[in-house]
Symmetry: C2
Subunit: 330 residues, 2 copies
C-alpha cells in the first residue's frame, strides 16, 4: 500500500503539500495539486484511515447497537440509519446485542476503543452498560426505548397510545375477553404496550383480568408456548394484542395447532407490519411502526451532535398506525 511519503517523493513535494493538495486546500498551486493528484493516482494511493483518525481524533464511523438482527423492525431502522449516515460520508458498524447487557457492554468497550464518532442504541435495559460512552463524551442517541437515567436524544414510537388504540379497536369490534402477550418485564416497549392495553380496558370499563396477560421473550418459540398456554385456560381470551411480529408468528402457530381461526375465534392485532401480514388468512391487523424513519431521524440527531450541536437533548416521538385487516373482526 502506497503511503503519503511515496506520493510526496514522486511528486517532488513534502507530505504536507500532498495532504493539502488531496484535501482540496485552496492555498496550494493548481499545477502542483494536479501533479500531486496524478502521482497519487499512479501509485494507487489510498489514504490510511487509521492514521487519519489518530491524528484527527475522530473517525467517520457511527455505531448502531440493536437488540436483534433478525427482527425486521430493527433491520429497517438499520437501513434508515445507514442511508442517512452514508450520504453524510459516514459508515455504520452494526452490533447485535441480542438483548444481553453483557454483550452490550462488550460492544461499548470495542466502540470506545475504535473511537467511533457516535452511537445509536436500542438499550437492553438499564443504562449501566452505556455509562462509559457518556464518560467519554461520545454522543449517544437512543431508539425504540428510552434510556431512563441518562439525558440524551431519543427517538421513540408512542407504543402506549398505539396499544391503547389497538385494544380499543378490538373492544369496539365486540371482543369481550381481550388478552395481551408482551415481552419481558423491564424491557420498556414491552411494559409500555402492556400499559396501553390496560389504559384501554380501563377506559372501556372492562375488567382487566390478570390471567389474560402473558409475558415471554420477544421471540417466536416463547410466544408460541405462552399463547398456547393462554388459550388453554378455563376462560380463554377471544381477543389478543401481541407485542411484536416475531411473537405474532408464534401466536399464529399456536392458534393453527389449536384450530383457532383469527378474527372469528380470536380477534388479533400485532405490533409491526411484515411483508407476510397480508398473506395469512385472514390477513393480520397490525400496528405499523415507522421503523425506517426512526433510523433516519436518529442518524440526523446523532450527526447534529457530532457536528457540535449543544442544545438540550430532544425526544422525538413518532406515531404508529393501526392497519385494520381481517384478523380483528368477525
Amino acid at each position: 500500500m502506497a503511503t503519503m511519503r511515496e506520493v510526496a517523493g514522486r511528486a517532488g513535494v513534502s507530505t504536507a503539500t500532498v495532504s493539502r493538495a488531496l484535501s482540496g486546500n485552496p492555498t496550494v498551486d493548481p499545477d502542483l495539486a494536479a501533479r500531486v493528484r496524478s502521482a497519487a493516482h499512479a501509485l494507487g494511493y489510498r489514504p490510511n484511515g487509521v492514521a487519519r483518525s489518530l491524528r484527527r481524533q475522530t473517525t467517520a464511523v457511527l455505531a448502531l447497537i440493536i437488540s436483534d438482527v433478525e427482527n425486521p423492525f430493527f433491520t429497517a431502522i438499520a437501513r434508515g440509519v445507514e442511508d442517512t449516515a452514508q450520504s453524510a460520508g459516514y459508515s455504520v458498524v452494526l452490533c447485535n446485542s441480542d438483548e444481553s447487557t453483557a454483550k452490550e457492554r462488550r460492544y461499548v468497550d470495542v466502540l470506545l476503543q475504535e473511537q467511533v464518532a457516535g452511537v445509536i442504541v436500542s438499550p437492553t435495559s438499564a443504562a449501566g452498560a452505556l455509562e462509559p460512552l457518556w464518560d467519554n463524551g461520545t454522543p449517544v442517541v437512543a431508539v425504540d426505548r428510552p434510556l431512563p437515567g441518562l439525558e440524551c436524544d431519543t427517538v421513540l414510537v408512542d407504543s402506549r397510545v398505539a396499544a391503547n388504540v389497538a385494544t380499543t379497536h378490538l373492544a369496539a369490534q365486540g371482543y369481550q375477553r381481550i388478552g395481551c402477550l408482551t415481552g419481558p418485564v423491564g424491557v420498556h416497549t414491552a411494559d409500555d404496550r402492556l400499559a396501553g392495553y390496560r389504559d384501554a380496558l380501563r377506559a372501556a370499563k372492562r375488567r382487566s383480568a390478570a390471567d389474560l396477560v402473558r409475558r415471554a421473550e420477544f421471540r417466536t418459540v416463547g410466544a408460541k408456548r405462552s399463547a398456547a398456554d393462554l388459550f388453554g385456560i378455563a376462560e380463554p381470551p377471544d381477543g389478543l394484542l401481541v407485542a411484536n411480529s416475531t411473537m405474532a408468528t408464534g401466536t399464529l402457530e399456536a392458534m393453527s395447532e389449536l384450530g383457532l381461526r383469527a378474527g372469528r375465534d380470536v380477534g388479533l392485532v400485532a405490533f409491526d407490519d411484515s411483508p407476510w401480514a397480508t398473506l395469512v388468512d385472514p390477513p393480520l391487523t397490525v400496528i405499523s411502526q415507522p421503523a425506517y424513519q426512526i433510523g433516519t431521524m436518529a442518524a440526523q440527531l446523532l450527526l447534529a451532535r457530532i457536528g457540535g450541536d449543544a442544545r438540550a437533548p430532544r425526544t422525538i416521538t413518532l406515531n404508529a398506525q393501526l392497519v385494520v385487516r381481517g384478523s380483528s373482526h368477525r
Copy 2:
C-alpha cells in the same frame, strides 16, 4: 480519555512498561504489573484502538458486505459471522451493498481505508469492485455466490441441485407446466437456480417452455408483477419455482389477487425458509438454506487466512434441503 502516559505517570513507570504489563508480558515484575493495572483501573484507562491499529498495522475488525440487509437469508448469515468473529475477539462491520456495484465499490474503499483485517462478501456481480482488496492483500471470502475471476475461499449452497430437486418434486406431484421466477441476469444464484430448473425439465423429458420463465429483481414488488404477468398468459403454468423468499411473498400476493390457490391451482416451491412459511394456507414448500452455517464457515475460513493460512483457496458447498409442505401437492 486517559492515555497510556497518564497511567505510566501514576504508576511511576514508562509507557513501555504499561504496555507490557497490560498485555500480560511475563517479563514484567508481578508487583509492578499489579501497580500498573490498578493505576489503569483508577484512571478508567481504555487503550486507544486506533493508535494500536496504526502501530500494529492491523485491526480486529471484519467486514461483511451483503446485498440486502432486509433479506432474512442475509441477516442469518450475518448472525453466523458475528457469533464466530465475536468469540475470536473480532468485531464485525456490516455493509449493505443493495445489489449495487457502485455502493460495493464505495464500501471497499472505506474498508481499505479503515484497514479491516478481512472481508466477507456476497458479490453483486463481476469481481471488478473487489480488485482493490486483492491488490492490498486483504483476505476475502465470498459467500452465496462465487467470484468468477478471482481465486478465493468461497462458501456456497448448491442452488442448482436444489432447484433441480425442487422442480423434479413438482413434476412428480403431477404438475404439467412448471414455470420459474428467478432473479436478474448476471446474479449468479439467479442463473444457477434457473439452470437447475432446466436440468430437471430436461431429465423429465419435459419441454422447457421459454415463456414460463420470468426474471425480476430479488424483491417483492417486481416479483409480484412478474408473477401476475406469468399467470396471465394464454397457457399459464400450473407449477412454479420461485428463487427467494422476498419473491415468494410477491408471488403469493399476486396469486391471492388472482384467486389462485397454492397447491390446488399452482404447485409452489420457493427458496429460503421463513418463519411465516408455515402460517400461510396452504403452508409453503421451501428449499431451506443453511444460512447461519454459511456465516460461521465463512468467518472460520477468513479467520484462518488472517491467521496466516496460505493453503490454496477452498470452496465449500453446503446442501440445501427441500422441505415439503402443502403448497406443492393437490
